[in-house]
Amino acid sequence: MAEEILKVEHLDKYYGDWQALHDINFSINKGEVVTLLGPSGSGKSTLIRTLNGLESYRKGTIYFQGKKVDPNPKEWQALRQKIGMVFQSYDLFPNLTVMDNILLAPTKVQGRDKEEVRKEALALLDRVELRKHADSYPRQLSGGQKQRIAIVRALAMHPELMLFDEVTASLDPEMVRGVLKIIKELSDQDHMTMIIVTHEMNFAAKIADKVLFLEKGKILEETPGKQFFDHPQTDRAAEFLNSMDF
């Protein structure tokens, strides 16, 4: 029996009167990769942000490693140390060097030993082929490099679960591959548990153990990765796949 990392039950989210998410239910096991697909505005980003406590929800329950999440700021703050997240806009801290960006949270939030984290950070930078940029500032890096650093920054926290919110959406096409390669490696080599929002269908097809297809804030179908791309269960998903470039 695989260990369940995250489970969502009957989750509803509202912005004012407008309901953004309708009765969301799913779960993800250790080592699994779930991708959230769907047209823009379907609620994918809202959902993934909710899973990191960046958006509040009105009804429903989130379980993390079998424990019910009490949705208060303190609890989320503690949980976020185990749930890493990378955003579309990378958002490295512009006033800190690459190394300081990586060191900040592990040392200040987790109170770990700086030298130990630095060693680990250098190893991670090696993996993403950016070791020589350890002392650079974000302004000296390309978008793709910044995004790789943002991934390293999240990994340095030793997360149990990684959330990727359209991490390649604002990158030039030639930068996209490098970032996706790292995410793929994380799955293949480290068996990292991941939830990914993406528009890169080829990538999703390769990496997804499970696809959640969303439209208008609802999960229309939940299908094993390979099957979704070959035989989607719903017409809407088929239409969606047809409209995307592979």
């Binding site: 990191n52 976020r80 890493g84 997240m85 958002d91 939030v109």
Partner: protein, 219 residues
């Protein structure tokens, strides 16, 4: 323009010049301190204090310095609080300037992008850590233009001190005009004196603004 008149007035203007610089310096330092404390109390929404500070900022920003000074200098003694003119001037400048500085810093803090805060939160930072590592360093850099504008503004506002007979630059010129009627000459010196203070300062602050901006955001 009579150069002898100008020359003879220079020692007196030098006194006024020094006083303007000194009062500006003390007032601006005080205003920055009050401004930082005020904007912090608003940023952290300190109960009661935050509200009082909010009211203070609105009152100070929406009334003229001159009437604030008159109140301190003429009306306070009726309530038993008597202060020297220069003390009133400095308190007035800090009262006014503190509110402007508070607005500037608050604007900077609020200007820090939401996605930066999200990424800090996603790393598990507490509200205090977000403030310490993200909001303040970036917010101070963002409030540099306001800070620079306020410094220039406050130095110019010291000219209003002349209404309560503080012998700073403008008061010096008015005194001299009253005594010798050489208004062209004295006003000329007065304008030049402000230019000597403000032009280098404007150049310096513009340079500083760019440096801080580049150092923080890289653009």
């Amino acid at each position: 323009m009579n150069w002898t008149v100008i020359q003879q007035s220079l020692p007196e203007f030098a006194q006024g010049f020094k006083l303007t610089l000194w009062l500006s310096f003390v007032g601006i330092i005080g205003a920055i301190i009050v401004g930082i404390i005020s904007s912090l109390s608003q940023y952290f929404r300190v109960p009661v204090v935050g509200k009082i500070v909010g009211a203070y900022v609105e009152i100070a920003r929406n009334t003229p310095l001159l009437i604030q000074l008159f109140f301190l200098y003429y009306a306070f003694p009726v309530m038993g609080i008597k202060m020297a003119a220069q003390t009133c001037g400095i308190i007035g400048l800090i009262f006014l300037g503190g509110a402007y500085m508070a607005e500037g810093f608050t604007g900077g803090f609020n200007g820090v992008s939401k996605s930066q805060l999200d990424s800090g939160r996603a790393l598990g930072m507490s509200d205090f850590q977000l403030a310490r590592y993200i909001v303040f360093p970036q917010g101070f850099a963002l409030s540099m233009p306001a800070l620079a504008a306020n410094i220039i503004f406050l130095i110019k506002e010291t000219s209003i001190f002349s209404v309560i007979a503080i012998p700073e630059l403008t008061n010096t010129a008015l005194d001299l005009i009253g005594m010798y009627y050489q208004s062209n000459e004295y006003l000329f010196v007065l304008v030049v004196a402000y230019a000597i203070i403000l032009i280098p300062l404007i150049v310096f602050l513009t340079w500083l603004e760019r440096r801080v901006r580049y150092g923080t955001f890289g653009d």
